[in-house]
Each structure stands twice: as structure tokens, then as C-alpha cells.
Amino acid sequence: MTTIDDFLVLVRHEIGLPVGPEHADVPLDQVPGWDSMHLLALLTALERQTGRSISLPDVLEAESLHEIHELAVQS
């Protein structure tokens, strides 16, 4: 998973939210169906897929899916 499109596919498959490119930069509370429980599913999927730890405090600062993606590929 390297691109934002790959990441959005992961979001669709792992947590079942119908997100597309138009949701990458909107505030998380405007992503359809988004809540903290989805964050748990997404973070565990990311850590499993990338094999790298992701810092939750950093993720909690993220304001969009795009920013979470950046943290995932940086970590």
C-alpha cells in the first residue's frame, strides 16, 4: 500500500465504508459512517499490512483520511 488510492481501497475492504477519492481530504466527521470503532479496524489493518507500528496520538491529530495515509506510509 503506497498510494492514497491503495489506502482508500483498504478503507473500503477492511471497514466497509463506501469512500472514494472525494473523501480523502474532507474532515473525518464528514466521511460517511466514520467513527472511532472504524479507526480501530483501520489501524489494526494498517499495522498488519505494513508491519510497522503506527502512533495513535499522531493519528488522533489527523484531520482527514489523507493525513492518516501519510502517517501510515511515513511510519
Binding site: 471497514i15 472511532s36 470503532m37 480501530l40 489501524l43 507500528s53 496520538p57
Partner: protein
């Protein structure tokens, strides 16, 4: 006739299990533990099942019996003094015999009225309500009231937790096992704490359950139905306002102002939810009595852990109000205590 709370006694099985131990046991990533700490904040729970061997060490009857013994000892009462036994649980060992009657036998209590309520997070208050009213009738003098729950039937140590939906993962970290009990009586007792009021209202008309626990028999044991389901969004949205309503109704009925409450015992869903609910109850002058961060969510047992913490702190004139909310078919429950004598 006035009814008094003489004592509370509790038990938690086995050692406290922290989040890191759960993550290690179920091979979960470090970020899972961080999320649970941030969004649930139940640092510990206790299990009747040994996590290493998978063996069941304590039945529900074992836990309830120990809690009952401790409550009786704390009250200075003997089993022969008990003429009413009421128990609430969502997780009986068997459907028959009812666990309350097994506990009566274990405690050496015989030839008394016994009742078991099939109940969730308001079960302790429902049991206190039944006991208070029956004691108030004048037909009984001393009641042992028990609340107990065990996750043992749901704790599948072979499951791949990472493959479960997040709401089921969270259910697993919310709950733990435990039992609590209280002795009530029509005599004033050493504490002089009167159980002034209990109130239970089912408000589930037209509402889907927020929590479902199935049971299975010989014909449907292989049915493709989940054993436990929680609609966490419904719980998150509905419980805080129901808790506020319950406190308001209790205070109205007692003719107490918020400023006259010395202790508040809020619902104990999780550390984080309890903080949120406590803030919304808006009783800043009252001391909060909570336990969920130490005990985990022990369902029917929770208010007894709170009462055990409350009793030694009360001084003459102190007033306390407790609230519990059940999110299965939506029940709101409250209770009020006052220390009337030194």
C-alpha cells in the same frame, strides 16, 4: 417500613488482566492496546477462566456464594438470619436450577423466598428494588441481594480476535467477571444507611435492543446466530441522556436538589463512558463513586462494588444517588441512600 443497607461484599476471580496481557494473548498489534486505552479505558478485568489453561476455575454460583458470604460477614449476619434471597444475572450457570437456589444451598439458607431476575446492567437495582419492596411489606426482615455475571461462555480463547468486527473486539475488553452482594434489613443496623428509594423503568417500547445475548438448546445449538451482539452507537447515544433522566426523576421524587447530593454512583460502562456520563449528570458538589477502571464492567455486580466503596465513606446526613442503565431492551434504574444515624 424503612429498609436499611447493612453491608456490601464483592469478589473478583483471579488476577487483574491488563490490556497488554490481552494484546499478547490474542496476538494483537500495539496500536490496538493504545486504542482501547484511549477510547474504552477499562485498564483491568478479571476472568473466571484461566487464560493460560483455558480451564473454568469459578462458576457463577461460586462467585455469587463468595460475595454472599462476604456481605453476610460484613453485616455480622448469619445465613439463618436471611429470610429473602434475590439475585440478578445475565449469565446464569444453567437455566435450571436457577443459580440463586444453588447459592442458597451453598450458603446454608433454606426454607426462604428466593427470586432470580434475568437482567443486565440494571439487574442489581432491580434486585434491590424487589428486596426493598418485599422487606417493606413487613413479611421479611433480612434480605441477601446478589448481582453476578461471568463472560466464561463467551470467552473463546481459540478465536482470531483480529478477524472479529471491531464492536465484538470491544465487547471483549469491556466486560469481566465478578459478583457482589448486599444485606438489607428492616433494623437500622451498624451503618444506619437507609435505602430510601429504588426506581426501575423499562423504556424499550418501539426501540431495538442495544445489546443481545442469545442462548442455545439441543435443537438450535448449531444455529448461525451470534451469541452476543452490541449496537455500540445506540449505547453511546442513548445511555447518557437516560442516565440524566433517571437522576432527575430520582431527585424529583425525593424532593432533593442536586446540591444536596453528597455522593453519586454513575453507570459503569467503561472508564471513558462513565466520565462522560458523570459530567452530564452535573452534580459537581457530589463525590463520584466509581469502580469500572479497577473491576472492568461486571454487569449485574457493578453497583455492589460501588456500594462497598460508598458505605465506609458516608457520615450522618450524607445522601447518595446511584444510576444504572441497561441497554438490552433499555431499562433505567436509580436508587437513593441516606445515612440517618451515626
Amino acid at each position: 417500613m424503612s429498609v436499611y443497607l447493612h453491608s456490601a461484599g464483592t469478589v473478583l476471580p483471579g488476577p487483574p488482566i491488563d490490556i497488554a496481557s490481552l494484546a499478547e494473548k490474542f496476538d494483537l498489534p500495539s496500536v490496538w492496546g493504545q486504542w482501547v486505552e484511549s477510547f474504552i479505558d477499562n485498564p483491568y478485568r478479571h476472568y473466571s477462566v484461566d487464560l493460560d489453561s483455558g480451564k473454568l476455575r469459578f462458576s457463577l454460583a461460586d462467585l455469587a456464594t463468595t460475595a454472599g458470604e462476604r456481605a453476610l460477614a460484613a453485616a455480622g449476619a448469619a445465613p439463618a438470619d436471611v429470610d429473602l434471597l434475590v439475585m440478578g444475572t445475565s449469565s446464569p450457570d444453567m437455566l435450571m436450577p436457577a443459580t440463586v437456589n444453588v447459592v442458597a444451598d451453598r450458603l446454608g439458607i433454606d426454607d426462604v423466598a428466593t427470586y432470580q431476575l434475568q437482567s443486565g446492567c440494571t439487574g442489581a437495582v432491580q434486585a434491590l428494588d424487589v428486596a426493598r419492596r418485599l422487606l417493606g411489606s413487613g413479611e421479611h426482615r433480612t434480605a441477601l441481594v446478589i448481582g453476578a455475571d461471568s463472560c466464561a461462555k463467551h470467552l473463546d480463547l481459540s478465536v482470531d480476535v483480529r478477524s472479529l468486527p471491531p464492536d465484538q473486539q470491544v465487547n471483549g475488553v469491556l466486560f469481566g467477571d465478578g459478583a457482589g452482594a448486599a444485606v438489607l434489613g428492616v433494623e437500622r443496623g451498624a451503618h444506619g444507611v437507609e435505602l430510601l428509594r429504588t426506581r426501575v423503568r423499562c423504556v424499550g417500547r418501539g426501540r431495538e435492543p442495544g445489546q443481545t445475548l442469545n442462548w442455545f438448546g439441543g435443537a438450535d445449538r448449531h444455529a448461525d446466530r451470534p451469541a452476543a451482539v452490541e449496537d455500540y452507537k445506540a449505547v453511546q447515544d442513548a445511555v447518557p441522556p437516560l442516565a440524566v433522566q433517571t437522576l432527575d426523576e430520582m431527585l424529583d421524587a425525593l424532593n432533593w436538589d442536586r446540591g444536596e447530593v453528597d455522593y453519586v454512583l454513575p453507570p459503569q460502562l467503561s472508564g471513558r463512558m462513565t466520565d462522560e456520563i458523570h459530567a452530564r449528570l452535573d452534580v459537581p458538589d457530589a463525590q463520584e463513586v466509581s469502580c469500572v477502571r479497577e473491576t472492568g464492567n461486571t454487569g449485574n455486580a457493578l453497583p455492589f462494588f460501588q456500594l462497598e466503596r460508598l458505605l465506609p465513606r458516608m457520615i450522618a446526613g450524607d445522601r447518595a444517588v446511584g444510576v444504572a442503565i441497561e441497554s438490552s431492551k433499555w431499562i433505567k434504574a436509580g436508587y437513593a441512600l441516606e445515612k440517618v444515624d451515626a
